[in-house]
Structure formats: C-alpha cells, structure tokens
C-alpha cells in the first residue's frame, strides 16, 4: 500500500459506537466546498464491514470469531491492505475485485484505528 496515497479523513467515532464515516480532504479552491463534499459519496465503513467481513470477524473486528480479532493487529497498514486485496489462501478471499481501492483504504484506516482494549 502506498501510505501516502490515502486522502481520507476519518471520523473515528465508530470506536465509541457511532457510525464511522470518511470524507475527502477539502480542496483549497474557491468553489462551493460544501457542495463539492456533498457530491462525493462517503464511505460507510461499518456497513461495508457488515457486508463483507462479518462472516468471519465478529463485532466489527473487535472480537475473534471465525477469523481473528482485528483490533490491535500487529500487521502494518500496508500488510492489511494487501490482505484485504489479495486474501489468504485457504482462509480468506481477496476483495480487490469487489471493493475499490478507496474502500480498501477505508478498511485499513478503520482496522488500524481499532484499539485492542476496545474488544
């Protein structure tokens, strides 16, 4: 993963149980910024998690289940990206064909933001 690539700012209120959201860093221009933000769809990571990850990773990644607990992972952000994109043979399917890079980046930010103590 190119760690310089993400241009996303995260609302990590998800850790407190609220909806986690992400929006692009506002561009420094003279156009109507609010309208520009609204035009770009926000990534609802918890919803994406429920749709793609919950079969194996319990409690939005905060508990072990069929797959490991994600909170407190020792993997680097780059490793998490690669694992989501490519999967792990015999254990986890790859998601690079069903998730776009921005969505995978959103998962990386979310997972790396989970604290082990949250579980």
């Amino acid at each position: 993963m190119n760690t310089a690539a993400p241009m996303l700012r995260w609302c990590v209120a998800a850790l407190a149980g609220a909806m986690l959201c992400a929006g692009p860093v506002r561009a420094a221009d003279d156009s109507a910024p609010a309208a520009a933000d609204a035009a770009k769809p926000k990534i609802d990571v918890r919803k994406l998690f429920a749709m793609n990850c919950s079969w194996c990773h319990d409690g939005y990644g905060m508990h072990a289940g069929k797959g490991p607990k994600l909170a407190g992972t020792s993997m680097t952000a780059s490793q998490v990206y690669q694992r989501i994109a490519k999967g792990k043979s015999g254990a986890m399917p790859g998601y690079e064909k069903t998730l776009n890079p921005e969505q995978i980046e959103a998962f990386v930010e979310y997972i790396k933001g989970l604290k082990e103590s949250d579980g």
């Binding site: 998690f49 749709m51 797959g67 043979s89």
Partner: protein
C-alpha cells in the same frame, strides 16, 4: 414401537461371508442393486449416510459395549496440509477405505493397514475457489459403477477409476456465469446418476442448483433450481430478489426407492440477514417467504421435477437453513416417515408420501434448549410460533447463534434401541443488522448485512449435548451434556454403542442404552467430520477423521478459550481403531 428389522438378506449374508473370508470383490460390484441394499451390508460403508435410510448405523458387533474398553488405534493416515481440517466422510468398499482431504485430494488406503493404494489431487481454479467462503474443505465422495465421484470448490464434478485413481471424466458443472458457486458436499449415487447440490446461501446469485449428472459421462441430466426455478418460487421473492437470493443444497440428501424420490435440504436465502423485520412479507431486501430456501424439497429422481416441499423456515431471518443433516426414513405401525433436523434446533417428522404438497408434517419438536428466535414450533403443522424478527438495528442475546442448535453433521438411529442420537448446541450472539447493498444479480458475491459477537446463554456458559430419544415423538431416553458442543457426526452400532467424536479431540464410545461412557481416546485435535465402521480381512474397524478450523469451529476460541485458541486449523488425520 416397531423396530427396524436387522435380519440380513441372502445377498447381504453372501457379501458378509465374502468380506469375512478376506476376498476382495471387484470394484465394479458397487452397482445400483448393491447401493439399494447398503443397509444390509454392514461390512462396508457405501455412501455418505451409510445407506439410503440415513441411519448412520452398522449391524457390526465385534466391537461392543462389553469389549470396547479394549479398542486401540490400529493405524492412521496423515494427508498433506488440510486447511480447515479434514471434514470428509470416509467410505469403505471391500477392504479399501476412501476419503477426501482439503483442496481436492482423494485417498484410497488398505482398510486393514492404511497402506496407500492411490492418491488423486485435483487441479483447482484457486482464485475461484478462494473467492468463496466455502473453501478448501470437502465433505465426501460417492462410489458407484466402478468410480469415485467428487465435487470441487470450483464447480466441477470429477469421476475417478476406483481401482487406480485415474480420471475417467472431469466436467465443469457450475460455471461462473451460472452462479459462481461450488461444491463441498458429498455427491449421492442414484441409479445411473450422481446427484450433488451447490453451496452458496450467503452468496448473491441465482439459483442454488441441485444437479444430477450422468454417472458414465458427467453430462448434466437434470437441474433443479432451489430458488427461482418455478413461478411459485419467483412469486415468493418480492422485487425479483430471487436473482440475488442465495439458496443451494450444500449437504447430502437421500433417495427413497418406495416413491422414486430424492429428498434434499436447501440453504438459507441471501441477504443474510434481512433488515425487513416484522414487515418481511412486503418490505426488506427479499419480501416474502423466499421459496425454496431453508426448505426440504422432494424431487422426481428421474427428471428432477418438484414433487413436494416444506419450508422449515419461511423467510429465514436467522440463517437456520435446512441443508444440514440427514433424512432418516423409518416405518412405524405400517406408516412411513422421514425425519429431518433443521439448524434452528427443530426435528421435523414428515409423512414419507410426497403426494402431499406441501409435505404433511406428522410431528415437530425442539432439541435445542436455549432458543429465543421463536417461542416454539407447532407439532401438528410445523409452523413457527412467536417469531423474533431481526430488523435493522441491534439485537442482543439471540439464541441460538448463527451456528445453529444443530450443525451440518449427522446424528444416528439405532433400530435395536429404537433411539435417535443427536447433538445439540447451545450458544447465542448479539447482532446488528444493517441495510446491505445488493450485489449484482448472478454474481456470486457475498450478500451479508450484519455484524455479530458470540455470547453465552443467559445464566450459563455455552454447552452441547447428545440426546437419545424416540425419533418420531422426541421423547428423551437419556442425555449427556458436553462442556464443548460436539460438531462431528455420530455413529451407532449393533454392539450397543454410540461413537461421539468430540470438539476437544476426545473420541468417546457411549452405551447406546444408557449414555454411560465406556471408552475414550484423545485424538489430539477437534473433530468435525465423519465416523464410520467397516470390516477388512474379517476384522471390524472404526474410522474417524480429525482436524479443526471449520467456520463454526471458529467460535470456540472466543467462547471457550483453550484448547481451541491454540488448536491448529491447517491439518487433520484419518484415525482407524480396532480391538487388539
């Protein structure tokens, strides 16, 4: 009750005599007549359920309640890496043992010594196989007409020469365009056809097919779509949601010669879960009953046409599909019944006559104890009472958890004791249901809408039990509780035994009459596969597969801690026991 006759026919006696003399029958001898009489052929285990009556029972009694304490490991076999453990059901034919391990491997071993006769390794489309959750395990094979038949995780059927392991035919059955699902369950040989159902209850995509292929060529003879296959089904999925509806029939059904019918259980609908809640008939992701998901279907064996059905979980809101378990065919008082367990912890007893459409329910009873997804089941109609819907939002202490009160492995029925032996699992979860975006139709992509955390039933830790009961009335004779819910299949024998392969690695023999533990051996790793008995060179053996790592077993670490947190999930063995 009227007990099932254990008298052997002349043909079966002849077969037994041949086996006891150590004479090897030719492989081609596994013909349709022999398969139909598998219940009278105790020296062999010829199909996934042992015989079409699906009793998982053997008339062998060399090993019995008196001498089982002397049972010892005779030999074992270690396949190469077997991720998610060995989940296969071995078959035994004329002194040779056949079984599968992960990633498309098939083994043929000498039943008395374990000496390898041949091995086959399928070349799989790894990207496709790994694109599903149902990978890389395999749950068994069929043997007939001189061949070993296996389904693969990338949607193919393969026939091997049972004497050499060489490929006879290799056919793509379930294409990516056809639904992008695969096969993990064992096929069933019926006449000159091999029947198999697809996996994929949690995957978007039509139509959850069940196939019958020509045993000689692999050409598809018929296909039954568990969802969207007829107008009744389509009408039960509002907004054409059948096109993303999951379904399938991922475990092995059976054949009833009396009515020339195939009985098969079907998987849950997608999405798993639906946010529609109380308004599920008109609202949500898949408004309506969602036929024929979470149902029993009865098909004409010759053409796959639907004769009858019963939807055990109308609009399944809990992932309690009907694909699990066995179809035990039995007779009492001149009337024939089919007993079928559902993942929600209910045993349904049907009239075996499929001219009733839907099927006529003769009884329905719960074997789960801590359930709260319903208040109960109507014994006369099989209808669910007091459904607990799971609309969008959070729900706590839902019992049983997604893993069900009954898992995919089988129970056993002993005609001598007249008792059904069945595992029950008691666990719960907290779940948050979200509105999932539907994936493209026919895509085979995951279609979930929830996140959850495993929990214990209120007031106590999760646990399991093996009960012995009248299969038709449900009346309990005895019950044994287990700290860790067993996940493997059970086996009962004329030696008054019930074998229980445990989750923690303990392999037990219980007294079939009382439940008293008579023997145990620590196999060192959990079980969630098959157990059979057979003879080789006149001696009785008991074979069981080991290995841990199924989707259900993943919840044992968070629920119970050790030994499950450190239990390997990438290997397993075949262990074979005998008296000294």
């Amino acid at each position: 009750m009227k007990r099932w006759s254990t008298q052997m026919t002349g043909a079966a006696k002849a077969l037994s005599a041949v086996a006891l003399l150590g004479v090897s029958l030719s492989a081609g001898a596994v013909d349709w007549d022999r398969l139909q009489n598998a219940d009278k052929d105790p020296n062999n285990w010829l199909m996934y359920h042992g015989a079409f009556n699906s009793y998982h029972y053997s008339d062998l009694s060399q090993v019995n309640a008196t001498n089982v304490k002397n049972l010892r490991l005779a030999w074992l076999h270690t396949p190469s890496a077997s991720k998610r453990g060995v989940q296969s059901f071995p078959l035994a034919v004329d002194g040779t043992l056949y079984y599968t391990s992960a990633s498309g491997q098939v083994w043929a071993l000498d039943g008395a010594t374990g000496e390898m006769k041949w091995r086959y390794q399928a070349k799989l489309d790894q990207e496709r196989s790994e694109g599903t959750f149902y990978n890389p395990y395999n749950r068994g094979i069929a043997i007939a007409h001189g061949k070993v038949y296996m389904g693969t995780t990338d949607g193919r059927m393969i026939a091997l020469d049972m004497n050499t392991g060489k490929v006879v035919w290799d056919k793509m059955i379930l294409t990516v365009e056809g639904g992008n699902k695969g096969f993990t369950g064992a096929p069933l040989a019926v006449k000159d056809m091999i029947v198999i159902g697809s996996n994929g209850g949690e995957l978007s995509g039509c139509c959850g097919p069940i196939f019958a292929v020509d045993a000689k060529t692999g050409e598809v003879r018929w296909q039954f779509d568990t969802i969207g296959g007829d107008e009744r089904s389509k009408a039960s999925w509002g907004n054409d949601s059948w096109k993303t509806g999951g379904g399938g029939g991922w475990m092995t059904g059976t054949y009833d010669a009396k009515t020339n019918s195939i009985w098969w259980g079907t998987a849950n609908p997608a999405p798993d879960y639906d946010w529609g809640g109380e308004n599920w008939k008109t609202d949500g992701a898949r408004p309506g009953d969602n036929l024929y998901s979470s149902s029993v279907v009865v098909l004409n064996a010759d053409n796959g046409e639907l004769k009858s059905w019963f939807q055990e979980m109308p609009h399944d809101a809990w992932d309690f599909d009907s694909a699990v378990g066995e179809f035990m065919i039995m007779e009492r008082g001149g009337k024939r019944y089919v007993m079928h367990p559902n993942k929600g912890g209910i045993i349904f007893v049907y009239d075996a006559d499929p001219s009733h459409a839907p099927l006529k329910v003769e009884n329905a009873y719960m074997i789960g104890k801590t359930f709260n997804y319903i208040k109960g089941v109507d014994a006369k109609t099989g209808q669910l009472i007091g459904r607990r819907e799971l609309p969008e939002g959070k729900h706590t202490n839902v019992c049983p958890a997604i893993d069900g009160a009954i898992s995919w492995n089988t129970g056993a029925y002993n005609p001598n004791t007249g008792l059904l032996y069945k595992v029950g699992q008691e666990w719960c979860f907290d779940i948050e249901v979200v509105k999932a975006d539907p994936p493209p139709a026919f895509s085979g992509q995951t279609y979930f809408g929830a996140s959850w955390t495993s929990t214990h039933p209120e007031g106590r830790k999760s646990f399991g039990h093996v009960s012995a009961r009248d299969p038709l009335t449900g009346k309990v004779k005895w019950e044994k509780e287990y700290k860790y819910p067993p996940l493997a299949s059970l086996l009962s024998t004329k030696g008054n035994l019930v074998f229980v392969p445990g989750a923690d690695g303990r392999f037990e023999a219980l007294d079939a009459r009382t439940g008293a533990k008579l023997w145990e051996h620590n196999n060192g790793i959990g079980h969630h596969g098959g157990v059979i008995t057979y003879t080789a060179k006149g001696k009785q053996y008991v074979a069981v597969v080991t290995g841990w790592g199924s989707h259900v077993s993943g919840n044992y670490c968070p629920l119970f801690g050790e030994p499950f947190c450190s239990m390997p999930t990438d290997n397993g063995q075949l262990l074979v026991f005998a008296l000294p």
